[in-house]
Symmetry: C2
């Protein structure tokens, strides 16, 4: 499927105007711009997309789940049908290897199909039925039933670091569409061509499945204003975002200040503290070094689950020296954007002034958005006295912290902000001894990992990719896994409805054969 990029927004079944304000993607390896020019959406186009979404809301939200499942599968098929053109464009815009995007495409289409399966199975709506008891004393019990229904049109912001899996047809879009919500996507400037290709694949599915056009729009823009206008728009009822703490908090504040505040699901900032306990260090320090190096440098360190703080026992000289050697031997590589590069370099310089032991590759002949990997080292006391060291540096760097005191680790754990993950490497003895550490970490994170690394997020029903602020804006939610659909749903209750006026999921005959709670009992 050959597709010519036009660089204009997708507004329902129309294309956006060729406004004068344009921007281009970049090749991070060279830092050069890539054709074509993309036209920033006009404010009227935000209104137009939002109005279409509002118009489509009832029809799309009232489709039976199986129809929405077909649509999600059509999107996945169409994304795959883009073939090598998609892989090559994504690779060109990010300098990440083709193989990465073959994998990320599989994950993206897999996510769409997992939500399609969830819709086909049907029990996700948490249907509950309490039958009437007309002769109950002192007052009759009414017939009450409820289930999850769509929250309304959603705005989705593409992630810089997941051009496929958390962008136009990524996890936020898939879960919002699955829930029955129209979606307006705000493309990321780092990979506009990838966005247009995927956007066209979604649009094609909208037509093929005869869906109302307003359920999908894709807006390009070079600045923040269009995205902010989208979050302010009264038709928008929820927001999905993956990006920086500053960007996420800005959207949270805008959403909270609306006349009608709306939920924002921003996945923002995490240093993913990793604790290597004494016996594990002794028994398998070498294996941990290798795993840690892969986790810190994979995707050029641009994963939200990258271990950014690593606590090691005081006597870890060999481990630290091995890890430093591995980092020193790692080639420079380009980050996704010039902005990320600048932030990385500035933060690294700042940190080098704060901690006593630092190492960075000394390669100075760097092209495009390339940076050297780095590793910093400090003591627990220095760490506790320097709150800055808790801040995420996006890119291939981490901070090693030596501590020999159990109580000190507990104090550090208590002082941590909310995190997506925490990891603990320990033998059975270690885990017994540090059970209190794990209990504290549990209150700080969305996911706790034993004897493994935080990067690599399995897409499955039990996954929690969330965590207390500032890891996310809403620590009750997950951005990955089937529970992500709940972010775009709310419960609606039907009292005293005749069978034929009820949604299928709530009728007595349970023709969909879904699991429900009926008069207090799980059954189907």
């Amino acid at each position: 499927m050959a597709t010519t990029l036009t660089g204009t927004s997708i507004i329902g079944s129309s294309r956006g105007s060729k406004t004068a304000e344009t921007f281009r993607g970049f090749d991070p390896t060279t830092g050069n711009e890539i054709e074509p020019a993309f036209h920033s959406a006009a404010f009227e186009e935000v209104d137009a997309a939002a109005s279409l979404a509002e118009e489509a809301r009832l029809e799309y939200g009232n489709l039976v789940c199986k129809e929405r499942a077909k649509f999600l599968r059509a999107i996945a098929d169409n994304v795959e049908a883009l073939g090598d053109a998609l892989i090559e464009r994504a690779s060109l815009e990010t300098s990440l290897p083709n193989a990465r995007f073959v994998g990320e495409r599989a994950r993206t289409c897999g996510q769409l199909r997992i939500f399609a399966d969830l819709l086909d199975e049907g029990s996700w709506v948490d249907a509950r039925i309490d039958h009437a008891i007309p002769d109950r004393e002192p007052i009759p019990k009414p017939d009450v039933r409820s289930m999850l229904r769509p929250i309304g049109p959603a705005a989705v912001f593409c992630a810089s670091n997941f051009p496929l899996a958390y962008s136009v047809a990524g996890g936020d879009t898939a879960s919002a569409l699955a829930a029955g919500c129209p979606v307006i996507v705000n493309a990321h400037t780092a990979h506009p061509g990838t966005a247009e290709l995927v956007g066209l694949a979604v649009s094609k599915a909208v037509k093929e499945c005869e869906m109302p056009e307003g359920i999908f729009s894709l807006l390009f823009s070079s600045g923040y204003e269009i995205g902010q206008a989208l979050v302010r728009h009264p038709a928008i009822k929820a927001v999905g975002f993956t990006g920086s703490r500053k960007g996420g908090r800005a959207l949270m504040d805008i959403a909270a200040a609306r006349p009608e505040p709306i939920p924002v699901y921003a996945e923002m900032s995490s240093v993913n503290p990793t604790f290597i306990l004494p016996n594990a260090m002794k028994e398998r320090g070498d294996a941990i070094v290798a795993g840690l190096h892969a986790s810190v440098t994979g995707g050029v360190g641009q994963f939200c689950t990258k271990p950014g703080l690593v606590f090691v026992p005081g006597e870890s000289d060999t481990f630290i020296s091995n890890f430093r050697s591995q980092i020193a031997a790692t080639n420079p590589a380009p980050l996704l954007t010039g902005g990320i590069q600048k932030t990385y370099n500035t933060a690294n310089s700042h940190r080098a002034g704060e901690v006593t032991n630092t190492i960075a590759n000394e390669e100075t002949n760097l092209h495009g958005f390339s940076v050297n990997p780095s590793v910093f080292e400090t003591t627990a006391i220095e760490f506790l006295n320097t709150p800055d060291l808790n801040e995420e540096i996006f890119g291939p760097t981490t901070l090693l912290i030596r501590s020999n005191h159990h109580e000190e680790l507990l104090k550090i754990a208590l002082s941590l902000e909310g995190q997506l993950t925490a990891s603990v490497h320990g033998t059975e003895d270690d885990l017994r001894e540090y059970a209190d550490l794990i209990k504290i970490l549990e209150t700080k994170v969305g996911r706790l990992i034993l004897n493994g690394f935080s990067t690599g997020v399995e897409v499955c029903p039990s996954m929690v990719h969330g965590g207390p602020y500032p890891a996310t804006s809403d620590g009750r939610s997950t951005a990955v896994g089937t529970r992500a659909i709940r972010r775009f749903s709310r419960f609606v209750c039907y009292q005293n409805f005749p069978q034929n006026a009820l949604p299928e999921e709530l009728r007595d005959d349970n023709a969909l054969n879904i699991w429900r709670i009926v008069d207090g009992e799980f059954k189907r």
Copy 2:
């Protein structure tokens, strides 16, 4: 059980200080103060309560569910053991009849026991297990498991209109304690004596069950500052509130502006639109008049689900005249506070200047906080042109709106703000003809009722007492029914944990015999 009121806050196992700033409850019938004086908590006491809650968080949150269930049952037993003293004090402070509090006490203790049952059954945690597949290609699948865990210490604000069921040991407290969260209650100035009695019953249960003292505190105060300090406190991780839109929004704004924003569950403001369709009006207008009158005047109109907007066909002269007669024949009655009385009278006067047909009892010799019930009447066009008419007036009043046009009703429905409920009275023919109206209302409310009235909220697994803003701050949640526990919970994921390090709910043996999703299948 005879209890002497001391008028001091409860801070864990201690009592608050006898600060100089005091206030008293009122007898609404006379408007006179009631003894004793209650001492406003000091800011240090907010800190003390929050620190105790923070300290208790891990121990209480890690108790097995059955232990928390015993504690909730002990609270219910102790509330009942307060006997007539509780009923009489609540009645004295509100001028609502004893019988109302016998019922409300039953509901309160019933709620505590429903959550205890939920904990004993155990499936509420939404446990999910995905087993490892070590030989999966291209990468191994890890062992991933997750379940709901407590969100952390919660602040609960007592409701003026439910001195028992939505106050010290009411639905918010019960669901937060059930979820494993310590609770700090901010008492309402309208019924401080009732609050102290119930607070002592909770404290007694804390001691009897050997719970950490910090899981419960109760703060008295005459102003807003103490409650606001509580919401700002870093130890507090969620807020439950029932009250006015202004009060709820103020807490939402404070919570959103915190360095770490936290969820606020504020149940605020709803006019509960009620639609009487043409055939229903013809067939059973008289029965609807009687039901509507009871719903508008029950509890002196001080229910959040009171029907505040009633849409009737144009040719409803008999209905309207009957309803007006019934309102005219209804005795004045005291509202809960002088503030509510003043707001009611001001809003009624304002409304009388806005709409063409009004009626209010002419009784002028009113004592204490008493007011006359009232009814207003207007046309659909006037209604659409006067946004003020959407505002809730708390008390025994409603607005009748005549409309003869299907399209006009749809337009009105689309213009409505978020609501706790909407009700539709219609015959089978009506419901078929107005299916589009019901679809629109579904997007605006938490609960839709057919051929019934919105007051009276059944406490059951399927109940949704929520709705989009401004009905509540968080339209995804419910304040009533077992799903209310989710408000104080968040998902935590455990990756690669050995069996003995997992919470019982996530172990392979499922010794608790709870329903779980294991490798994608519901089972137990």
